[in-house]
């Protein structure tokens, strides 16, 4: 193989560049060159049989993994840390006073006075952690959760901040966390996509498909959007195409491709494309079975709140949570579960600028029981042993109300996310914000660190999971990131 000697590690790109890899892997020499390349670069330990015809073949990480699968519960719109997980009794005392030395103008405009947490806090579990009464079901799980209260973001604007949370860059166009992970690890199920993204029943979040986009990674690693109510597009032909016609077209296609491959021996890309039709055919069978929740017993529906006739959004989100569990059960590597939609003055997501309390009452009722049930259900099935569950939001909110409003403005300087499940130390609260919750003051962690920790639990070194793009070795964590060891079991 001809590799320009000064070329940057081509291993990452070469791993998936089919011209190099497939043709290479189809010969003994190619395989040897390929494995030696990986050995030299110390990158991904490659399955020697890995080929573009099996893009989701399971691959080993850089070291033994604590978790095999991930479920990310992504609360769009920026959940207030002060109304949920970050207890600030001093804020009650300072209610209605100005924040000394605080900003006169924040993201949306003039700042008002400090405002007490809008919900009471209670001690929960063995750890006695103070959690808001807004989310009683999730609060009952705190003994199993590792919290980071001192996260910071690079942007105070939803779209760029969601990009930053999901891709490590505030700009558009970079690969998402789920894409990086399925690129690194493949999947345990060859009949389903490695990465499934489940939008909130009310709509998609502000950065939209950037949250599950492949950026410059091969398209195969992008998240496939589906939900309990919207199955994968084009899974079946349009109405009017008979089953017999469908089978006949597929069979004829197979014969045409076989004849063509015979006439063009040695071209691995032709084989890869034939294989992609076979995987598609298997998906056509496995996805409808997966998405069919009718086999779920009544007590499971009740556990999640999927039977709640009084709250359609909650029931729909609960069905998405059940779908998430079914995906994990089937070995799908990365499941992204959204709670909250796009900009809507806080009506459809957690962006509580004006009437925080009124809106959070609604949003918490949708999130709380189904999300808590998902974690319980994973645990009772033994899946939490191998599944990491992450709860995140793009930034937090200010301790002041906005001038003339009863809600809080954007605050990227100190907010809370958490994780639980495989490899996570239970009952940890790491990092602190100041006594009013304005900004992180101890153990400050940019979101890079949080993402580095997720990769670490999956056996991936965030500095080694790289892909070359336009001459730059790109990573999820740019040139930053430190694993937050305090969260590890």
């Amino acid at each position: 193989m001809i590799h320009p000697p000064q070329s940057l590690s081509p291993a990452g790109a070469g791993l998936l560049d089919r011209r190099r890899f497939l043709t290479g892997a189809s010969t003994a020499l190619g395989s040897i060159a390929f494995s030696s390349l990986l050995g030299r670069e110390g990158l991904l330990a490659a399955d020697p049989g890995f080929a573009a015809s099996r893009p989701f073949a399971p691959r080993h990480g850089h070291f033994p993994a604590r978790a095999k699968n991930v479920v990310v519960i992504f609360c769009a719109g920026a959940v207030s840390q002060l109304e949920t997980w970050d207890y600030k009794p001093e804020l009650i005392r300072h209610d209605g006073k100005p924040l000394e030395g605080g900003p006169a103008v924040t993201f949306q405009g003039p700042a008002g006075n400090l405002a007490r947490p809008q919900y009471a806090f209670r001690r929960r579990g063995q750890t006695g952690k103070w959690v808001s009464v807004l989310i009683p079901h999730l609060a009952s799980l705190t003994d199993d959760i590792a919290f980071v209260h001192s996260l910071t973001s690079k942007s105070n604007t939803h779209g760029p901040a969601e990009n930053f949370l999901s891709t490590g860059f505030a700009l558009d166009g970079f690969p998402s966390l789920g894409s990086w992970i399925s690129y690194g690890l493949g999947s345990e199920n060859q009949d389903l996509p490695a990465f499934v993204s489940i939008p909130d029943p009310r709509g998609v979040p502000q950065a939209g498909s950037n949250n599950w986009g492949p950026g410059f990674l091969p398209a195969v690693f992008q998240g496939t959007p589906m939900s309990a109510k919207d199955p994968i597009r084009h899974l079946a032909p349009p109405a009017g195409i008979g089953r017999g016609d469908d089978d006949a077209a597929r069979a004829l296609l197979g014969r045409m491709n076989a004849r063509h491959a015979d006439a063009h021996p040695g071209d691995g890309r032709l084989a890869a494309r034939i294989a992609s039709y076979e995987l598609a055919a298997r998906m056509q069978l496995s996805v409808p079975e997966l998405a069919d929740l009718s086999s779920e017993p009544a007590h499971i529906l009740r556990l999640y709140g999927a039977d709640d006739a009084s709250n359609a959004n909650k029931a729909a989100f609960a069905r998405n949570c059940i779908l998430a569990r079914r995906l994990v059960e089937r070995g799908v590597r990365f499941v992204q579960l959204f709670n909250g939609a796009y900009a809507s003055g806080g009506e459809l997501n957690w962006d509580g600028h004006n009437k925080l309390r009124e809106q959070y009452d609604k949003h918490a009722a949708i999130l709380d029981q189904p999300a808590a049930a998902l974690i319980r259900d994973l645990r009772q099935r033994g899946l939490l042993e191998s599944t990491l569950v992450v709860w995140c939001t793009e930034f937090g909110r200010m301790p002041m109300f906005q001038k003339g409003a009863e809600g809080r403005d954007h605050n990227p300087d100190g907010f809370t996310c958490w994780m639980t499940g495989a490899g996570v130390r239970p009952g940890v609260s790491h990092g602190t914000t100041d006594e009013l919750g304005r900004r992180a003051v101890a153990d400050i962690h940019p979101l890079y660190d949080f993402n580095a920790t997720i990769l670490h639990l999956l056996g991936l070194d965030h500095e080694k999971l790289v892909y070359e793009h336009n001459g730059v070795r790109r990573r999820l964590t740019n040139v930053e990131g430190n694993v937050i060891r305090e969260l590890l079991a």
Binding site: P237, L252, A405, N470
Partner: protein, 825 residues
Amino acid sequence: MNYIRPFILAALPLCLGAAGAVGTELWSLAPVASPAIPVVTNTAWPRNTIDRFVLARLEHEKLAPAPEVDRATWLRRVSLDLTGLPPAPARIDAFVADALPDAHERAVDDLLASPRHGERWAQHWLDVVRYADTHGFEVNTERPNAWPYRDYIIHAFNEDLPYDRFIREQLAGDVLGQDAATGFLVTASVLLPGQIGADEPSKRLARQDSLDEIVTNIGQTFLGLGVNCARCHDHKFDPVSQRDYYSMQAFVAGVEYGERELRTPESAARRVEKDRLKARVAELDHDLARFVPIAHPVDGPSKSGMTRAAVNPRLNTDRFAPTRARRVRFTIRATGNLEPCIDELEVYDTAGRNVALASAGTKTRSSGDTVVENRHELRQINDGEYGNSRSWMSNETGKGWVELEFAGDHEIDRVVWGRDRNGEFHDRLATDYRIELADASGGWRLVADATDRATYIAGKSEPAPPALLGLAPDEAREATRLSAERKQSAARIAVLDSAGTAFAGIFRKPDDIHILRRGDPEQPMDPVVPAVPVALGATASGDDTNEAGRRLRLADWIASPTHPLTARVMVNRVWQGHFGTGLVDTPSDFGRNGSKPSHPELLDWLAGEFVRSGWSIKHLHRLVVLSATYGQSARVDPAGLARDADDRLLWRFPSRRLEAETIRDSMLAASGRLDRSMYGRGFDLFDLRGGLTGFKPVESYRGDGLRRMVYAHKVRREREAVFGPFDCPDAGQSTARRRESTTPIQAINLFNSRFTIDESAALAARVAHEAGVDPRNQVRLAWRLALGRDPSPSELDDALAVSRDHGLATVCRAVFNSNEFVFSP
């Protein structure tokens, strides 16, 4: 408040390389050499100079080139390559039968002369500059007049605009008579006013980000250099310091993202016509007002029993008997959803003057506001400006009120209001409301409400034409005439508006640019003046107070025939377009982290030839596609595979999967439904032209949806539903080279989409119509149209059997999915 600061430390891209110490000579900065033409052993094989370079290297590696491909396959290859469409059967027959020695040359000339050529090669360029028709980022709204730049690119490739001129026009077309060309400067995603934080650091960071995108685009596209790596500190591997980077920013520090009027000989006339029409529309509105049915509020004067049109998001008129008033109150009692929003509230006196305007001295009060600075503010309800970003929003769901107090009393008879006159937003519409008037003494009187309006159905209501009910015949005629004229005038204004402007940047006095410590806008250090990186030379000196002069100086420097990077980078892009991989396989990185060329002498010879030809891109195309290298078959040879699995040495033609656009366009060409009309506003891939969510893909295409995909309205981030997963860029970051991936989603899309089913049926219908009743001839023609060849006897039998039992469309569906159809041969 400076919450950005801690992260600036982290903002540098990851410019880490494996090798290459700074200080050693970078090959790409050496002057372009005039290499000796190599001597080869097999003198019969080369057709032109390219072949000598390629063959010399193959011979050195003890490899032999592949045999020449057959003529029909060559024509298919070169047609797909140069025009993105397969050759018509008649064209193939004529070419195969053409015994003259210059048959290949003439075929290539025909393809290069076809308007389809510019459409095909424009796509490569648009990938690199990440062109899109939406703004990206936070709201991803439509960028409605981006397309003149796309059209400019297509036209430039078709005209074979000399590349040096092409560069100058894209950087400074405003002073070179090519306004649309500067769309290049502002192709990136950008945060619009209103999406940027209200605090000053947020604004400064947003400005820096938007300047950075321009510098990045210039560096990568023309020079193949990631100069933006030096935004936060000196480039680790390439000779670009932080000072160099900010000095580059200074060239474009007067560029703002925005629309500009295209100044053409026609544009002045257009402006005059537009002003005249706008004045006329105002007159017509006044004249038409008397035909708007009078409102009959629930507790007002006796009901007429007539139902007025439902409210609509764009424009509503409430007319009442002339009344003397000092104040008007508009109270919202219900909305379609969310907090109500009104973009403008107008009140007309009997003389047809809008007396609500703040500029007329009218004051406003409200029940409470949701304030988003410069987007939703109370002052914007009577500022004379339309649209969501110039509107008022209540702070309560489903209710709120606004009160106007005039400077004096007015005799008024009309209130006109809307949610969004620009027609983009349909939410937050007041569906139940009351309009009350008060005179100076204060007593409120209801003059209009929604009780006599029809029920609002979301998505159904358009501004109502004047109701003719109850009008005398001559009045009805008059109303119809005025209304028709108004509609015509408004349509013409819309045409004039979009014909005359382009999202091509606004130019103003340049910002002062400083070196920013760690890239942090809050830590400015030394000021800089426009200059190119020191290691790369220097521009001519010039007057920095002349904004366009700055850009022109930069353009002249880049477009210099002696610049070591400019010609090399472009000939490499052209080579990549033909072979899938460039001679340098990192097409936008000719720096130390990029690859070295596989054939350095060939790259330099081509670069020299490019400049000598007067920067003719078509000259490069001719050289490449008429070479023996390009004319090889794609057969895989064990010796070549063992020695050079990547085929970087070109021991065979590197066949590859076609791009998304070529597959879609070729299906339409084969089915006979391709609409070849060129240029203009993009056709819709979705029910929305911008936004974050809820894009419903068009399923069945008709009309302009059957145009080539380069004319699709490109929504950033939202990939086209069927072909997008075939590695279409999302226009976030530059795509210098598309990855070629193979996924099951591609398979289900191409197999099951309505598009494939429609085109399969259309191809079946076409061949049934054109080939006569014999099913054999029908299958033959389908093969020739889609695959450019006759079916073999066994293929014919196979297809006939399927056609007999399942219809010819089923056969066509398999053909469109076949590897032969979607691979370049």
